[in-house]
C-alpha cells in the first residue's frame, strides 16, 4: 500500500498539496503515482511566474515507459520550482512528499474538490486491490 501522509491534501489524479507557513502551496505527485510511473528519467518543471489554472497541465514527468502530464490541483502563480529535479528526477521516486516536490504556488483562489488523506486512501484501496 502506498504511503499517504495524514497532513496533506490530495486530488483524484494523484497530486498532493502542502500548505506552507507563508501561505504558498507546495505541490507534487503521490507515492502511488511515482510507483505507477516507474523510474523517472526527466521532469519538466514550469517557469517561475507562470500562472496555472486548476486542473491544467503544469509539468511533465517522463519515465522510460511514458511521459505524463502533471495537473495543477489549484489555480495560482508559480513562486518556486524544485530545480534539483533537473539533475535528479529520481528524487520523486525516492521521496515524493519531501525532496521530490515539484513547485510552489501562490493560490489565486481557494481550492475545491480536494481529498483528505483518508479519502485519498479510500480511492487507492479501490484502485489497488491488495
Amino acid at each position: 500500500m502506498s504511503k499517504v501522509p495524514a497532513d496533506l491534501k490530495y486530488t483524484n489524479t494523484h497530486e498532493w498539496l502542502r500548505e506552507l507557513p507563508d501561505g504558498t502551496i507546495e505541490i507534487g505527485i503521490t507515492d502511488h503515482a511515482q510507483h505507477a510511473l516507474g523510474d523517472l528519467v526527466f521532469v519538466e518543471v514550469p517557469e517561475v511566474g507562470r500562472r496555472l489554472s486548476a486542473g491544467g497541465s503544469y509539468a511533465v514527468v517522463e519515465s522510460v515507459k511514458a511521459a505524463s502530464d502533471v495537473y495543477s490541483p489549484i489555480a495560482g502563480e508559480v513562486t518556486a520550482v524544485n530545480s534539483q529535479l533537473a539533475s535528479a528526477p529520481e528524487l520523486i521516486n525516492q521521496d515524493p512528499y519531501g525532496a521530490g516536490w515539484i513547485a510552489r504556488i501562490r493560490p489565486a483562489a481557494a481550492a475545491t474538490g480536494l481529498l483528505a488523506a483518508a479519502e485519498y486512501e479510500k480511492l487507492l484501496r479501490e484502485e489497488e486491490p491488495d
Partner: protein, 454 residues
C-alpha cells in the same frame, strides 16, 4: 509471382474469424457515394518488361541536360561505392529496422549519421532524419515554439531569404496551431535579411527567429549579427543550412551564442537529384532541448552483459506512446537515404567534404564571372555567395530558359514568381560537377540566345 501474401483461403479464414461473410460486407458501412469502384484513369497492369521499357523511354525523354539549377537541390558527384554499399541487402531490405535485438548494424549506421550531423552543425544531438528540408523546417518551428516557454507568442520571424517552398510547407503544417510566420524583408542591394526589418520587432514578444545560410539567393547572411540580436532577447534561433557548405562556413553552433535548432536538406550528401525525391531532412539541437526534438533518435547504451550496443531512445514523447500529446506526428525517418549519406560522409571525410565545398564555390564564382560578361546580364547582389547567385537579365527569364533548354542547358530557376520585385531575376548554380568547358558553353549559348532577336 504473386506479391500479395494473402491467399483466397487466408482471406476466407480471416473473414470467418471476425464473423463477416465477404470483403464487400466488411466495408459496407462506407456510404456508396464515397466508394470508388472503378478507376478509369488508371491503366491496366503492365509486366516487368513492359514497365521497364516505358520507364526507360521516359528517362530518355528527360535527357541529360547540362544543369545549372540549384535552388535547394544540388548536383554533386556521388562516388560509386555509396549506392553499391547502400543497396546491399542488409541495408536495403529491412523495413522498420528498429528492433535492437535484430538490427544493431542499421542502428549503428543511424547513430553514426546523427554523430556526423551533430559534428557538422556544431550541435550536441541530432535525430535519425525527417522527410525533407522543408518539413524539417516546419518541425523546427513547432519545436522552437514548444521550447520557448518564456514567450506567450506564437509569432515566428522568417526572412524572405528563406526558401519559398520551406516557408509554404511550414505555413501549411503550422497554420492550424495558430502559429504565425511573419516575413522579414531583405535589403535590395545586398540580398541579405534587412536589419531595419528586424529592428521593427525589437521589444515585441517573438517565439523564434529563422535564418537560412547560405540564403535562398546563395548569399551569405550576417549570421552572427542576426543571432546576437535574437539571443539578446532570449529568442531561440532556427538555422537552415546546406550541409556541404558547413565544411567551409562557421557551424550554426557558433553563430553568435549558437543556434538552438539546425535543420536542412540532406540531399547534397550522396542522394541523386532524381526528379525531386525522395530526399531527407536533418535536425540537430543542443542537449538542453533534446526532449523537445521530434522524430526517431538512436542512442548508444550497454546491454545486460555490459557490452556496448545501440537502441532507439527518448521514445516516451513519440506518438506510439503519447498518442495525441506526442511531441510531433513524425513517426519514421528516411533510413535508406540516411544510409547513403552516412556512407558518403564516411568516404569523403572532413577534408573531402571541404574540397567539394571549395570546388563548388570556385565553380560558382567562375560561372557568375563568365555570364555577367554577357551583355544584358548583371549580378543582382553585392554580397559574397556560396555556390549559387542571382543575376538580372534585360528581358523576361522564362522564354530565355526555354531557349537554353532547347540547347540542352538548364540555366537555373526563374525567380519572377516568388520575387517579382527583383525584375527579370535568375538563380543559377554551379557545383564541383561543372567544368570550365561547361561554364564556357553556358556563357556562349546565353550570349547567342540574348543576341538573337527578342
Amino acid at each position: 509471382m504473386a506479391f500479395i501474401p494473402h491467399t483466397a483461403a487466408d482471406i476466407e479464414e480471416m473473414l470467418a474469424a471476425i464473423g463477416v461473410a465477404s470483403i464487400e460486407q466488411l466495408f459496407e458501412e462506407i456510404p456508396p457515394a464515397l466508394r470508388t469502384r472503378n478507376l478509369p484513369a488508371v491503366p491496366s497492369a503492365l509486366n516487368e518488361m513492359q514497365i521497364g521499357r516505358l520507364m526507360m523511354q521516359r528517362a530518355l525523354a528527360d535527357g541529360q541536360p547540362l544543369s545549372f539549377l540549384g535552388a535547394g537541390a544540388y548536383e554533386h558527384h556521388i562516388p560509386a561505392a555509396v549506392w553499391a554499399i547502400t543497396t546491399r541487402g542488409e541495408f536495403y531490405s529491412a523495413y522498420t529496422p528498429y528492433q535492437a535485438e535484430a538490427s544493431q548494424g542499421t542502428l549503428q549506421t543511424i547513430y553514426e549519421f546523427q554523430t556526423m550531423i551533430a559534428s557538422l552543425t556544431g550541435m550536441q544531438a541530432a535525430n535519425a532524419s525527417l522527410y525533407d528540408g522543408a518539413s524539417a523546417f516546419a518541425e523546427a518551428v513547432l519545436m522552437a515554439v514548444r521550447l520557448n516557454r518564456k514567450s506567450e507568442s506564437l509569432r515566428v520571424l522568417v526572412p524572405r531569404t528563406v526558401h519559398p517552398h520551406y516557408r509554404l510547407a511550414a505555413r501549411s503544417i503550422t497554420a492550424n496551431q495558430e502559429i504565425r510566420l511573419e516575413e522579414l524583408d531583405y535589403a535590395r542591394e545586398s540580398g541579405r535579411t534587412s536589419r531595419e526589418a528586424l529592428e521593427r520587432y525589437a521589444g515585441e514578444d517573438i517565439a523564434a527567429l529563422a535564418i537560412q545560410q547560405p540564403n535562398f539567393f546563395g548569399v551569405l547572411e550576417d549570421v552572427d549579427a542576426l543571432s546576437t540580436w535574437a539571443q539578446s532577447r532570449s529568442i531561440p534561433i532556427i538555422a537552415i543550412v546546406n550541409p556541404v557548405s558547413l565544411a567551409l562556413l562557421k557551424p550554426p553552433g557558433e553563430w553568435g551564442g549558437g543556434a538552438d535548432i539546425v535543420v536542412g536538406e540532406g540531399q547534397p550528401l550522396g542522394v541523386p537529384l532524381s526528379s525531386g525525391g525522395p530526399y531527407f531532412g536533418f535536425l540537430a539541437t543542443r542537449m538542453q532541448h533534446v526532449r523537445q526534438m521530434p522524430g526517431r533518435v538512436v542512442g548508444r547504451t550497454l546491454d545486460l552483459a555490459g557490452r556496448p550496443g545501440f537502441t532507439l531512445t527518448l521514445q516516451a514523447r513519440e506518438q506510439h506512446i503519447r498518442r495525441g500529446r506526442a511531441t510531433s506526428n513524425i513517426c519514421t525517418n528516411q533510413g535508406l537515404l540516411v544510409t547513403a549519406a552516412t556512407i558518403y560522409m564516411s568516404l569523403m571525410g572532413p577534408q573531402g567534404l571541404e574540397r567539394v565545398a571549395s570546388a563548388s564555390h570556385e565553380r560558382a564564382r567562375e560561372l557568375i564571372a563568365a555570364i555577367t560578361q554577357v551583355p544584358g546580364v548583371r549580378a543582382a547582389f553585392t554580397s559574397p555567395f556560396f555556390h549559387e547567385a542571382v543575376v538580372r537579365l534585360d528581358r523576361p527569364v522564362a522564354p530565355l530558359l526555354a531557349a537554353l533548354a532547347e540547347r540542352d542547358i538548364l540555366g537555373g530557376l526563374d525567380l519572377t514568381g516568388s520575387y517579382p520585385e527583383l525584375g527579370n531575376a535568375l538563380l543559377t548554380c554551379a557545383t564541383e560537377t561543372k567544368t570550365s568547358a561547361d561554364i564556357e558553353r553556358f556563357a556562349s549559348e546565353l550570349r547567342a540566345v540574348l543576341s538573337s532577336a527578342t
